[in-house]
Structures are given as structure tokens and as C-alpha cells.
């Protein structure tokens, strides 16, 4: 593994599988009365959040704590970063504290790349602007493998939940990702990771919400959701922000949800075994109807639980091979 996890493109198929397999093992810890492992005792993981995301922060925090790491939550509020210098200042502070891993969430694409130049610890990208969110893609892949691995016959929520999928990819599975591809870090990371794992990814969105040039993205694209659904094993709905209407990406919420929203009647177009995913937070009634979100084929709650296991695996694999960082004064740099 690389020292950092910044883009899903950093992962080879073997590395991605190693993370998923490790997550499978670590998930079993969650079923034990004592959920803690001593693996990262004495290591420091900093959650550096420049953008509010309680769910992601809590997920990383739980993951680090279950591995017995020391966790420092560092939340930087909007006004103090207005000028932007503080990313470097913050990095130098974390360096001096001896952070072994920095989990960074930032509204600016590329902030983790910058941070990685200024700290010696591992950098884990927990979402950077419209760029990437690789651990989200990993937990999505993990969720898909648990539900649909080893063939597509398993009905949703079946008892083979705990089945052993070690070493299995997502070969041949058809994943349709729907919504604001242009601004979605979840879409970017999923296209890269799911294709690495052998899935066939299709992106569906109104033309305004696609980048003008996709270049070599390993996926196909379409504008027609109804045409894509019957061929899908997985449909992943992306959050669409209401503000996009004001920039004329689409005319109205109602029209968006009519053309690109997943409701019960569209659910009927999906094959029986297909599952519905959403990275959250949802806009119920816009990109996804409430009864679909809460229905049996929705993996939305599972995704949250799986997030902890996958993030444990990432921290474990990034840190267990590396020497502990030493606290520095900053003067020797």
C-alpha cells in the first residue's frame, strides 16, 4: 500500500481486495462484546475537518478507537480558513504533535494532496471538494460484495450476510450511479474503484450534470434512467443539491425527481436481486422516495455500519506497516 489514501486510483485490485478482506475480518470484532483491538495502541489519528460532516467524522473516530489509536478531532471553522494559509499552519502543528495519520475533509479539491507534502504521517482523504472520497467508495464496494458477492441470486437481506467473500471482486456486476456526477466526489471515487474491482459502471445524469469531457473514465454514460435500470444489479443515487437549480443545471426539483429520482414505480424496473444505495445525506422525495430509501432493498443503513469496518481496515493497513511518527519541534524541518 501507498503511505496515503488520497484517490481511489491509488489502489490496485489486490490492494483494494486486501482492504475489503481486512474489513470483513474486522467487522467480526464489531459482533464481539468487547469491540476493541490493541493494534494501533500508541498511535495518533487526527480527524482534520474543514467542512462539517458529523457522520464521516464519527465513522473515522469509531474506526480509530476500535483499533485503540488515540484520536484527536480538529475542526477548523470557516472564517479562520478564509485566506487558506491555515492548511499549512495546521499541517505543521500536526507534524509537531506527531500525528501518525491525518484524516482530512475539506471543501477544496486537492487539499489532501497539499497536506501530504507537509506532513510525514499518512493522509487519508475523507472527501475533498468535488474530487474524491475513496473510503466511501470502499464501503460501497464492501456493501455490494456482501449483498451480491458469489452470484446475484441472494435475495436482499438474506442470511448469507456473513458469508466469506475473501478475495472476491465485483466482476461483471452492473452498477448504475445516478445524479450530480459533475460535483460528486462519491461518483469519481466509485467509478475508479468499482471498475478496478471488475464492475461495469454506468453513469446517468442530465447532460448539465456531467463534466463536458470525461476522457478516459472507465464507465459508460447515459441520460435515460429508465433505460439503465433493467440492466442494473446496483443503483446508487447521489445527493443533488437544491442550489443547483439556481445555476440552471435543471429547471425544478419536481422535474429532476420525475426524470432522475428513484421512486416505487421505477423500482419495478430493477431486477429482483438489485440493491439501492445512497451515500447520504439523502434528500427524500428528490433523488430518492422515502419508501425506497426505507425499503428492504435499500442498503443505506448497512452502508453506515460498513463504513466503520472499512475505515478500520484502511487505518490498520496504512499504519501497521509504518514506523510510528516521532513528535518534532518543527525546528528541524
Amino acid at each position: 500500500m501507498n503511505r496515503h489514501l488520497i484517490s481511489a486510483a491509488d489502489l490496485s485490485r489486490d490492494e483494494a481486495l486486501l482492504i475489503l478482506d481486512t474489513a470483513d475480518e474486522l467487522a467480526r470484532v464489531a459482533d464481539r462484546p468487547i469491540k476493541k483491538l490493541p493494534t494501533l495502541r500508541g498511535r495518533t489519528v487526527v480527524n482534520l475537518f474543514f467542512e462539517d460532516s458529523t457522520r464521516t467524522r464519527i465513522s473515522f473516530e469509531a474506526a480509530a478507537k476500535r483499533l485503540s489509536a488515540d484520536v484527536i478531532n480538529f475542526t477548523v471553522k470557516g472564517s479562520s480558513v478564509a485566506k487558506g494559509e491555515s492548511l499549512k499552519d495546521t499541517a505543521l502543528t500536526l507534524e509537531a504533535m506527531g500525528a501518525d495519520a491525518v484524516v482530512i475533509r475539506h471543501s477544496a479539491a486537492g487539499a489532501p494532496h497539499r497536506l501530504a507534502r507537509w506532513v510525514r504521517g499518512s493522509v487519508v482523504n475523507a472527501g475533498d471538494g468535488s474530487h474524491e472520497h475513496p473510503t466511501q467508495a470502499l464501503l460501497d464496494a464492501f456493501t455490494i460484495r456482501r449483498r451480491l458477492g458469489g452470484g446475484r441470486e441472494a435475495p436482499a437481506g438474506a442470511a448469507d450476510h456473513q458469508a466469506d467473500h475473501q478475495g472476491e471482486g465485483l466482476d461483471g456486476l452492473k452498477v448504475t450511479i445516478v445524479g450530480d456526477v459533475l460535483h460528486s466526489r462519491v461518483a469519481r471515487s466509485n467509478v475508479l474503484l468499482l471498475s478496478t474491482l471488475g464492475a461495469e459502471v454506468t453513469l446517468v445524469a442530465p447532460p448539465t450534470l456531467f463534466p463536458v469531457e470525461l476522457g478516459g473514465w472507465p464507465c459508460t454514460t447515459g441520460y435515460d434512467l429508465d433505460a439503465a435500470l433493467p440492466k442494473s444489479d446496483v443503483v446508487m443515487m447521489l445527493r443533488v443539491q437544491r442550489e443547483r437549480m439556481n445555476a440552471a443545471y435543471f429547471p425544478s426539483e419536481r422535474e429532476y425527481s420525475r426524470r432522475y429520482g428513484l421512486d416505487s414505480s421505477r423500482m419495478a424496473l430493477l431486477p429482483q436481486h438489485a440493491i439501492v444505495m445512497h451515500p447520504g445525506p439523502m434528500n427524500r422525495g428528490v433523488e430518492i422516495a422515502a419508501e425506497v430509501a426505507d425499503g428492504p432493498r435499500s442498503t443505506i443503513v448497512e452502508q453506515v455500519a460498513n463504513g466503520v469496518s472499512v475505515r478500520m481496515a484502511v487505518l490498520y493497513l496504512l499504519l501497521s506497516g509504518l514506523d510510528p511518527a516521532k513528535a518534532t519541534t518543527g525546528a528541524d524541518r
Binding site: 487558506g84 475539506h106 477544496a108 497539499r114 468535488s130 474524491e132 469531457e213 476522457g215
Partner: protein, 431 residues
Amino acid sequence: MTGWLIRGARPLGGDPADILVRDGAVAQVGPRLAASSARGTQVIDAGGLIALPGLVDLHAHLREPGREDAETVQTGTRAAALGGYTAVHAMANTDPVADTAGVVEQVWRLGRQAGHCDVQPVGAVTVGLGGTRLAELGAMADSAARVRVFSDDGSCVSDARLMRRALEYVKAFDGVIAQHAQEPRLTEGAQLNEGEVSARLGLTGWPAAAEESIIARDCLLAAHVGSSLHVCHVSTAGSVEIIGWAKSKGWQVTAEVTPHHLLLTDDLAQDYDPVYKVNPPLRTQADVTALRQGLADGTIDCVATDHAPHPLEDKETEWETAAFGMTGLETALRVVQHAMVDTGLLDWAQVADRMSLRPARIGRLAGHGNPLAPGAPANLTLYDPAPTEAVDPACHASKSRNSPFVGMVLPGRVVATFLRGVPTVLDGKLA
């Protein structure tokens, strides 16, 4: 007054000749001039060096007044002289904005005091670069600074009616409007050329059409009112085509390209290092090829640096919060040699045309951009095309270090620069 005898230089890259400089002017050019004919002259051995008319930059940000932490007229003109320039146009987006006779005269005087090269202020088109009211263009034209080039550079004069009036108005004093072509609505929050790279990096795209649509509109306006339009920092293949079309109609349209757009492409942004963040953004290889071709065939008239110094803290940040701009005065000629001469697209006479003669004509600078012939003001640059060296911004005279060529091995070295017969640079160092 002492003179200089420059021995064995190759004027415009041609056959070696001696150049005798006396009383601020070129006195004689010819093979083996007798030293005795020039009592009191100092002799420079310029064997192997190329002699060019002093370079003229139509587009530099000297930052003074207002951002003296990034650059001053003093440091910026040192950088210019070291780059082989004898005249630079100082853009108007200072603080206060150069939109009155008072401010342009202040900048002009600072240039005279610094003495490293002539500083020709550019006046703002609109008050405070606000894009709504015409600045007092006539007062700036009539001032001691004799402003002829007007630009809101940094912002686009996007209001079509205002642009038309500006073009029309400056006809009274042979002025030219230099447009920063950027349709504002199409580029809200724009960070990087809109294309494959911006899609992958998740950065808001800056579409080529936002530049091209303004250029097309302005060409039509310039034709309609019979005035002169100069297009700043052309960056796309489509822009070259539109400008070629306007020229084929005989319209008074000129254009510049920056060294960085002749060499660098948007994929350099892949690690989000803001040293590659510039406006207009780095484009694709196809654009670079078209820009080189346009400069070679004369569709693009000249090279202008868009030298845009920024202090470290404005670049050592996330991409989105970093400032736009790159330094360029000290590397321009080397980049042009690398991109245009060593590739066979331009010879040295054409380099002189694109970096001195034509920009001087567009900027209405009579004392610059003259052929190296007896009687001309002795503004000249001696350049050694042979050495190669990696660019190290730490060694630059500019106050700022944001050179996108950092670490690149480029050919060439400016050995000497003369401003009206007085050396501003000798042996590669400030004289």
C-alpha cells in the same frame, strides 16, 4: 559620454558584426569596426552572442502601488532588465487602480527613478476596474505618462456597450483597448481549463468558449467602430482561429501569447500545486500547438509575459484559494527559444519581431522596437543561446518566486541589456 563597442555579436542571429554605441544611440554596425574610431569606448567581446533589439513587454503586473509585498517597480524592472527587456507595460490593476492621470504618472515616475527599463503604464478602461463607468482615458493619454494602451486586465470589460464606447473613444488619441477576454458568467468560480483534467480533478472548469466568445464579439465591435483592439494572453486554438479571421478582414486586431501558454499544459495541475494556477488557465497540448503556430505565422503578433508575482502565502495553499498568476520576465526569452526557436518555428529575426518590434508598435513606443541600425536608440539585448540551466526562482530578482518553470532545464542566458546606450545588465548581472 562614453560609448560601447560590442565585438562580434550576431545581430538577429545573422553574421557576426561589431556594434558601436555612442550617445545613447547605435552609431555604427559593421564587420570589424576600428576601436580607434571610438575614443573612450569600452569594448565587450560578444562573440557567439545574439544581438536583439531590447525586448518590450506589453503585459506585466508590477504591483506597485498597493502590493509591494509581491513586487515593486524597482524589483519588477530589475527582473525585466535581467530578462532582456528595455520596456515594460505596467498593468493597471494596482491599489489604487491606475485609472487616473495621477496614478499613471506616479507609476511612470517610479519607473524613471528605478532606471532599469522604461515603464509604460497601462490605464484602466473603467473606474476602479468596476466595468461600469469609463475612466478618464483622455486625461491619462494627455498625462506625462502618455498612456496609449488601456486595459481592465484581471477583469474583462464584459459589458458590450461599454466596450464599444471605449474602443470608439480612444480613437481620438490613437489608443488601443487591451482586452482580458473572459466571459464572466461562464467562468464563475473557474479554476482550470474545462476538459478532461478539470473533470478528473473535480475543479470548476474555465471553458475555452468563455474566451473565444468575447474575442469574437470584440473583433466585431472594433471593426464596427474602426478602432484598435489588442487581445491579451490568447490561450486557445479557437481564439487563434477567430483572430486570424478578423485579420483576414483587415480589421485592427492584434494579439499576444504568454510564454507559459506556449509551453505548459493543464495536466500539470494534477497534484494541485497552485504554481500552475493562472488566468486564463493552462490549456491542452492541442492549444499549445495552435498558439505556437499562430505566433509563427504572425496571427498572434507578440509574446507578452503576463508577469504576475505573488507572495508565497498566496500560493502555498489549497488550489481553490490560491492566487492566479505566474512570474515570467526573467524566463520569457529562454522559454521562447525553447518552444519556438529550437523547434524551428521562429528564427531570431522573427523573435525580435515578436518580442520587440511588434509589441513596441502596438504599445505606441517610438523609442523601442527599432532595428539595430545607425541612428536608432541603443536599446539592445545580448543573448547567449548555448548554455542550459534549470530554472531556480530563488535566484530571480523578482520579489516573488511563483515561476511555473521551476526545475525545468531551459536553454539560453541574457548576457547584457542596454537602455539608450547604458548597460542595465552586464555579464548576466545588474549593471
